[in-house]
Amino acid sequence: MSRTSKDLSIESVWRGGVSPFAVSWRKLMLWLFIITDGLLFAGLLAGYGFVRLASPQWPNRAEIFHLDFIALMTFILITSSATMATAVGAARQGRVQTAFRFVLLTILGGLGFLSCQAYEWSKLISEGARLSSNPWGVPLFSAAFFIITGFHGSHVLTGVIVLSVVAWRALRQRVSPEGVELAGLYWHFVDLVWVFIFTLFYLI
């Protein structure tokens, strides 16, 4: 009995005239975009992995980066994901004021992360790291570092801009719960990418 009704529901969901995943085209499109954007980072990280494996040695990250500081950056970014989730929840319940406040906190987290990154970059540059060379031996080490973290940073910056638009619209009571949710989806994605970069570039 239950099996037939389940089969029927699969049939009816795909029969046309309805959205099979029960999502709007906006959300479906954003999910697809996130997959493609994720593959972009996968390509960059795979390229980094390739040159690292091909290299006879690789600089010791613990001597170059302050891993405590990187952990703090990671903590800030993950926290901003939590505030974002709270904002989405509040927007769903129609509490626009709360949603606005938590979006602001998320923006603050994003800016905090970007400032940490700017500090880290300027410190490494002052120590002599360039795209084409660095004091630690393997030139591709700093090249991969600047390109991968720079690319991720530009994604965070984009996220901050998107969230600012959401906040501005929330202030004028013109934001839809889905609008906050979509911005949140992108924000979580950017955070997730950082987890991969943190693991693959800094830790192992």
């Binding site: 046309g16 479906l28 499109m29 390229g47 040159v51």
Partner: protein
């Protein structure tokens, strides 16, 4: 609970600019894409003619051409760098700017909402944006011929170090930078299009249009779009790294010890193999992005002219999925001679040969669709049959190339050139042309000339075989591709002169397309007025008025009750039953 698809109620724009130039209507955008692609095909074709002129008669002088290309053909003799730029741009323009744009973006945009019963794409503005992103890409690609050093010359695959070291050949300078820029814009545009296609197919189908009632062209479009979305981002990543190698001093693709002139280049640590992996991770799925919609058109063009359903619909859909999945894990078969662990090569060879199974299923389904047919050899049917022939011929060549053992012999010879021209050149060309003859009445409300169309088909078909089947034999003889002349090679002396024959056939092939061009524009203004459903076809687009108005369907969106291939249903009043006919009138077969 399943959500309702959003209803599009855009008012019809009235100003000329919003209606024909910056339009968000999928039909206008589809035709814009189609015309752009055809324009790029003319350029790409002209480049091919120059290539054939050089290969056919490498020792002749062409003073007239010296006037048109003072640098590339100085003194009437083709400069080797210019030849490299020609083959690079011929490949780039044809693959990305003709076939991708024409088949996927052109026919895809025009037909997708019409065939699934939607009013427009899911996100019409993004659709417009994607077109207006590809226009500058076209301009940049064409402009690269006129900059210092000429257009890019590292092949359509842009292999480093030619593409990464700026001073390598003249085309490695600004021309290569523009090539990367043009490709970046193209990828951005194609990604926007792919997002729109997948979302629209999944979310915007009309009531009753279940996935298993989609025309096969829509299925191929869905899988091609998914492949594009998955495969292009890694190429984007590679292009970013290449830009940094060129302009930022990094060396992702450049190993140490590269000499240029008397000087050692400062690069170290990279590998050109990295580019090859990232490129072919795109490159191989990309050929399916091209050929699957072409097969979709061939599959959809058959039933109206055989007056019977397509054979093996379900199995074709499953095979398309199988091809899609397998195509993502076989890129290494382009690199059998690049240096690869033999065990890895074996993996790639087995994967590649596995693709022949679903491909053969589709091929046999196409042939079996002809069994018991009441065949009407109108022009679109001829083109559909022709593309089946090309698919078979090219597919057989693919078996040799997919196998590492034989590929090591045939790699980088004219066998490869002949093979991929049949597949991503021939099948797709015939599908685009056949699709044009077939959907022209829907797009423009007039019929194309049938007699000219048939002459065009036979000239194209025979000349194509003469060019590219012959090239297979040159490949067996060991003639390498990308060389601008073979006069100096002793071992090629017995087969060298076949190039003149190929060139003559290529000129016939080129000239035949002018016939099509004439037919297109003549029919646009003088063709016979088309009825609403001139081919008596059952798919949904023929239910819409001709040409379809803004919003496609008037007051109500049609509801679908059957699959798109109900031809010659016993007991039906006519030998075709449109998808909108309710089950009370004609029995639903599926």
């Amino acid at each position: 609970m399943a959500g309702k698809p959003s209803v599009h109620t855009h008012a019809e724009p009235t100003s000329f600019w919003r209606r024909y130039i910056f339009s968000t209507d999928h039909k206008v955008i589809g035709i814009q894409y189609y015309l752009t692609a055809m324009g790029m095909a003319l350029v790409g074709g002209a480049l091919a003619m120059l290539i054939r002129l050089q290969l056919g008669w490498p020792d002749e002088k062409w003073p007239l051409l010296a006037k048109i290309f003072p640098r590339g053909m100085s003194g009437g003799v083709m400069n080797p760098d210019f030849y490299l730029a020609l083959i690079t741009m011929h490949g780039t323009l044809m693959i990305f700017f003709f076939v991708s744009l024409g088949l996927v973006s052109g026919f895809g945009n025009y037909l997708l909402p019409l065939q699934i019963g939607a009013r427009d794409m899911a996100f019409p503005f993004l659709n417009m944006l994607s077109y207006w992103t590809v226009v500058p890409a076209c301009v940049i690609m064409l402009a690269s011929f006129f900059v210092e050093g000429g257009a890019a010359a590292s092949g359509w695959t842009a292999y480093p170090p030619l593409s990464a070291v700026e001073q390598a050949v003249p085309g490695s300078g600004l021309g290569q930078t523009l090539w990367i820029l043009g490709m970046a814009l193209f990828i951005a545009s194609f990604t926007m299009g792919g997002l729109n296609f997948v979302t629209t197919i999944l979310n915007e189908r009309t009531r009753g249009m279940s996935m298993m009632r989609l025309p096969l062209f829509i299925w191929t479009l869905l899988i091609a779009s998914i492949l594009g979305l998955l495969a292009f981002p890694p190429l984007t990543a590679a292009a970013i790294l290449l830009l940094f190698d060129r302009h930022g001093g990094t060396s992702f693709f450049l190993p140490s010890g590269l000499y240029f002139g008397e000087r050692v280049l400062p690069h170290s640590g990279g590998s050109p193999l990295l580019w090859q992996h990232l490129f072919w991770f795109l490159g191989h799925p990309e050929v399916y992005v091209l050929i699957l919609p072409a097969l979709g058109i061939a599959l959809d063009l058959l039933p109206p002219f055989t007056r019977k359903p397509i054979f093996g619909y379900r199995l074709t859909v499953y095979s398309l999925f199988a091809i899609g999945v397998l195509s993502m894990i076989v890129w290494g078969h382009h690199m059998f001679v690049s240096g690869m662990n033999p065990y890895v090569g074996e993996f790639f060879a087995i994967g590649t040969l596995a693709i022949t199974i679903p491909s053969a299923i589709i091929g046999f389904n196409l042939i079996a669709s002809l069994w018991g047919a009441r065949l009407q050899l109108r022009t679109p049917a001829l083109f559909a049959l022709g593309s089946i022939a090309f698919f078979g011929t090219g597919g057989l060549g693919g078996v040799f190339l997919g196998n590492a053992t034989s590929d090591i012999q045939l790699h980088d010879t004219y066998f490869v050139v002949g093979h991929f021209h049949f597949m991503i050149g021939g099948v797709t060309l015939l599908a685009i042309l056949g699709g044009t003859y077939y959907w022209f009445p829907k797009m423009f409300g007039r019929m194309m000339n049938e007699r000219l169309g048939k002459i065009h088909f036979w000239l194209t078909f025979i000349a194509f075989y003469a060019v590219f089947l012959t090239q297979h034999f040159l490949g067996f003889g060991g003639m390498p591709r990308r060389y601008y002349a073979f006069s100096k090679f002793e071992f090629l002396a017995p087969i060298r002169d076949m190039n003149a024959f190929i060139s003559v056939a290529a000129f016939v092939l080129g000239a035949a397309q002018l016939l099509f061009l004439f037919n297109f524009f003549w029919s646009l203004f003088r063709g016979a007025r088309a009825e609403q459903n001139p081919w008596r076809a059952a798919t949904l687009e023929w239910v819409a008025p001709t040409p379809p108005p803004h919003g496609n369907w008037g007051e109500t969106v049609p509801e679908v009750h059957r699959w798109p291939y109900d031809y010659s249903v016993p007991g039906a009043p006519e030998d075709f039953t449109p998808q909108t006919v309710p089950p009370t009138v004609v029995e639903v077969t599926r």
